[in-house]
Symmetry: C2
Subunit: 94 residues, 2 copies
DNA sequence: TTATTTTGGTTTATATTGTAAACCTATTTA
DNA sequence: TAAATAGGTTTACAATATAAACCAAAATAA
């Protein structure tokens, strides 16, 4: 049984990635809305995905007000494909 | 975004359930082999699945040697279906 | 015969995760 | 000018997963 990438096998991180896979970019506020996560949790999970190079995070000041924009990397996209393949191998017949 | 049943969204428990879904019954030794889990970990996760009524566990003595046989319940089967549906909703387009 | 290992587990302890609560700075709004 | 809101980060705690230690019975080796 192939391993399920632990970085992706987490509800919130999977939700984040599944959004970013379908969109050019998304900011903190949007991700928070969509996932209904708390800001703290979201912040931490974004850090982890970013540290793994699955996403790129661009933090800037939009007129003295912070703006955090995220997009998926090629590495992240590839990790998602592999994860989905692994999942399928668990769930054949369902 | 629908919640992913936390009881199923765990590598080992998902592996166990994905085996039990396709088989009439399986014993501890077989599950241990297939999942490559440690006995302790397997024991605990079986307890959790059993407590949730996702599987039924039958412990007996086979000539003074323990035998633990598991099979999935209807509730477990249904939980798996829902879980897979929820997952799909995350992964549309992959 | 009596150690030693193996089988089939369970219990206990620990490390890792996930999550929320508290906090911070800057800006609106009352 | 006090209170609330926006956009986050940090810290602290609770839950999980996992491994290590242990146990009883049987098989194997010395």
């Amino acid at each position: 049984m192939t391993e399920l990438d632990p970085l992706l096998h987490s509800q919130l991180r999977l939700a984040i990635m599944s959004i970013l896979v379908n969109v050019d970019e998304a900011d903190f506020v949007y991700l928070k809305q969509k996932t209904e996560a708390t800001a703290g949790n979201l912040s931490i999970q974004l850090d982890k995905l970013s540290a793994a190079n699955y996403i790129a995070v661009n933090k800037s000041q939009e007129g003295s007000r912070p703006r955090t924009i995220c997009h998926i990397t090629e590495e992240g996209r590839s990790a998602m494909s592999q994860y989905v393949e692994a999942l399928r191998s668990y769930l054949t017949g369902l």
